[in-house]
């Protein structure tokens, strides 16, 4: 250890943040663990999931006890409701498929909690994310992909406030999941190493529509309406737009000669537009105002790799920033299921340049039409459901 730091560690109760906190404590740093309480647990039965439950808080506490550092639970319900939950509900009502994990990181962990560092006189804020922070040659802080590409969570961190970067620590960024698991075993946390859920922490059963229906204003987007094809012909009746996401094929209940996919959700008309697989392909996208992690925004024509959802492999693309801060992004190869609400995250090799919510896909033009089987094959495997972290 070069210097002893006072570190605030955000502990979800999962094995990753537990190992992150334990490693820092073992390195001799002065660690304080904090678990953010995002909503009232009441007397809810303890779920079997690893994150954000009462059991998880108890597990975070157990790590702190074992390693002998203090742990606190901080109530962040209000901030969670205002910055994560409400935008999530609003997005679904508007026919978008939000990615709340990025907002939670941006506003809760690296916003609210970051602002609390001074309370403890903390030098650094650490989390169990798989990402790296290695400055450029000139010392400029840079957020980078994790060493373990399979676990990389840099996508979920793209909205992190730039000013926070110099004070963050990601102790797991250079480790593989296997190594973390090994540390977990060594530290006696092995039992917690259960399969990870792909669902949001506040919707543990994955039933988003049911969750939204029970929330305040839950009637929005729940009314049945028309399934239409691209020409506006009515093909059937849908159950409410909150039940659908772009790229979805299952559960539409429509009989057709070829499989139909959701192409778009038109909240204004309460219509779900469907079409064949090829119609899902888009040559690019337009984002909301981009959150850049670079000193100056990239110039027009900058070549990047863009990820359009958490599990997306990334595609070469060219950036065309607009004066309003948005960014038109043109893919080298058309991509399937460009989904409004999900993040577009831009990479230069392993460095995250910035990210923003996707506003809409660029319309396919004759010149851009995929035509080739390769384009379709490459676009296969779209998985539009939100993914944790």
């Amino acid at each position: 250890m070069s210097e002893r730091l006072r570190v605030l560690v955000a502990m979800s109760g999962g094995v990753d943040s537990g190992v992150a906190a334990a490693l820092l404590a073992e390195q001799g740093h002065d660690v304080t663990g904090v678990t953010l309480k995002l909503w009232c647990h009441g007397d809810a039965p303890v779920a079997s999931r690893a994150c954000c439950t009462l059991e998880a808080i108890e597990q975070a506490r157990a790590v702190a006890r074992r390693l002998g550092f203090p742990h606190f639970v901080v109530d962040a319900e209000e901030a969670f409701r205002a910055h994560v939950l409400q935008p999530f509900l609003d997005d679904y009502a508007m026919g978008r498929t939000p990615y709340p994990c990025a907002l939670c990181n941006q506003h809760l962990k690296f916003g609210d909690l970051f602002a609390r560092m001074e309370l403890l006189g903390a030098d650094r804020l650490a989390t169990g994310h798989y990402a790296r922070l290695e400055p450029l040659a000139d010392g400029t802080p840079a957020l980078r992909r994790a060493a373990d590409m399979a676990k990389d969570q840099s996508y979920a961190l793209a909205l992190t406030p730039r000013a926070a970067l110099p004070k963050l620590l990601f102790p797991l960024g250079s480790l593989t999941k296997g190594e973390v698991r090994e540390h977990g075993r060594r530290l006696g946390l092995a039992l917690w190493d259960r399969p990870e859920s792909q669902d949001l922490c506040f919707v543990p059963d994955g039933d988003y529509a049911g969750f939204i229906a029970q929330s305040p204003g839950g009637a929005r987007g729940a009314a049945p309406g028309p399934f239409e094809d691209s020409e506006g012909r009515r093909l059937g009746t849908h159950r409410g737009i909150i039940h659908y996401t772009v790229g979805q094929r299952r559960g539409l209940g429509l009989a057709a000669a070829e499989p139909l996919y959701v192409l778009a959700l038109d909240a204004a008309r309460n219509a779900v537009v469907v079409g064949p697989r090829a119609a899902l392909l888009a040559p690019g996208l337009v984002t909301a105002r981009v959150h850049w992690l670079t000193d100056v925004p990239p110039v027009d024509g900058t070549r990047v790799v863009v990820k359009i959802r958490y599990n997306h492999g990334g595609v070469d693309a060219t950036l065309h920033p607009r004066v309003d801060g948005a960014c038109e992004t043109r893919f080298e190869q058309p991509q399937a299921a460009v989904t409004p609400g999900q993040l577009a995250v831009f990479y230069d090799d392993d460095r995250v340049l910035g990210g923003a919510a996707i506003e809409h896909a660029l319309p396919a033009r004759a010149a851009d039409a995929p035509g080739s089987a390769a384009g379709v094959a490459r676009a296969a495997g779209a998985a539009p459901a939100p993914v944790t972290r």
Partner: protein, 383 residues
């Protein structure tokens, strides 16, 4: 660390540690055994009974040893309600009563007892006149002597007088008061009194329930004749010995100590007002324990304050904790009508035997700094 959380628990006094150590080493027999070893253990327990009785101006025969405040409240409230069942199945108390009283009432509610809630005034005390409107089938009321969060002293003697005037029995949870201020079982005139050793220099796990002779009572723990049939179970001899000695020491010192603590508390409150002029002391206009200050620092949430003070070496306390361990607004403050936004900014500081003037000044300075930082973080950071 500076310990300002004496209402949660107190350090065991060195004399008590020594007495308990000796007891653990030398007194291993069961006090119910008839041999000489048993008789020695019995003697230790009976000596402690006298010491506890002396602290509370009660008769030794009226003292029943328990495991502490929660058991005392359960045994007293449930024991009285059961014994009076033929006259009614209703009990009454205010929201500011300790969790243990609420818990005992839940046990009674399971078998159909009704619960009546007494009102609380803004200053934190229960108005005795409220008893006059209780339904006729009410049999027992509970009223604490000093509130654990605010330190506000309740008009227990007046409440007991009114209660007895209409045939009600009174349980008094004196857990926070005993050992801090004189507690006189006769003057209070209540039927059941509850104390706990670890609040005044004894160990955790030992307390007492004082029963007025003739007060209706059915034991909670049965099956053996311990404590003259009033509480089954082999006595916690070392704990009881510690409780007894702590009681004797408190009886000897509490008047002088109360005067000393009151001066410290006033110094502390004056200091706090200098560094945080807009603070609000809860129950400020009511008579209070000399060691307790419950205070809100508007705009600085208690969970943040607690964490920040801990980082600066100061141990204090806030409201209640929910199932997750997060700080929640205190039901006691809510019952006093304190608005939620002020209640979530409340801290409880409680002083005790080892508290010094220098410590008090140090805590004042740290609180001033912490409130400033927490307010700045809340204004600057999200939410």
């Amino acid at each position: 660390m500076i310990y300002f959380d004496y209402n949660a628990s107190t350090p065991v006094r060195p004399e008590v540690v020594e007495a308990m150590r000796e007891c653990l080493t030398d007194v291993s027999a069961n006090p119910s055994s008839l041999h000489r070893g048993g008789q020695r253990a019995r003697a230790a327990v009976e000596r402690a009974r006298e010491q506890v009785a002396a602290l509370l101006y009660a008769r030794p025969d009226d003292v029943v040893f328990t495991s502490g405040g929660t058991e005392g409240d359960h045994a007293g409230l449930i024991g009285a309600a059961w014994a009076l069942e033929s006259q009614g199945r209703r009990i009454a108390f205010a929201a500011i009563e300790h969790h243990a009283v609420h818990g005992a009432a839940e046990v009674l509610a399971r078998s159909g007892f009704e619960i009546e809630h007494l009102p609380v005034l803004a200053d934190g005390w229960v108005p005795p006149a409220a008893l006059d409107v209780l339904p006729a089938d009410t049999t027992v009321i509970a009223v604490m002597l000093a509130n654990n969060e605010t330190g506000v002293l309740q008009p227990v003697a007046e409440i007991a007088r009114r209660a007895h005037g209409r045939g009600l029995r009174v349980l008094c949870d004196a857990v926070q008061a005993a050992g801090k201020i004189p507690v006189d079982f006769e003057v209070l005139g209540v039927d059941y009194l509850v104390v706990s050793g670890h609040k005044f220099g004894g160990s955790k796990g030992a307390g007492a329930l004082i029963l007025r002779p003739g007060a209706p009572f059915e034991p909670l723990f049965r099956g053996s004749g311990h404590e003259r049939g009033r509480r089954g179970g082999t006595e916690n001899v070392p704990g009881i010995v510690g409780l007894g000695l702590a009681a004797e020491l408190a009886a000897r010192e509490q008047r002088a100590e109360a005067v000393r603590l009151l001066a410290l508390r006033e110094r502390f409150e004056r200091g706090l007002r200098m560094v945080v002029p807009d603070l609000v002391v809860h129950g400020a206009r009511a008579p209070r324990l000399p060691n307790t200050v419950n205070v809100s620092f508007p705009g600085a949430r208690s969970d943040h304050l607690l964490m920040a003070l801990d980082a600066r070496g100061i141990e204090s306390s806030a409201g209640a904790a929910c199932a997750s361990g997060a700080v929640e607004p205190s039901p006691v403050l809510a019952a006093m009508g304190v608005p939620r936004e002020l209640a979530v900014c409340a801290l409880r500081f409680s002083m005790g035997r080892n508290t010094t003037e220098a410590e008090t000044d140090e805590v004042v300075a740290a609180v001033g700094e912490t409130v400033r930082v927490v307010r700045a973080a809340s204004a600057g950071g999200g939410a």
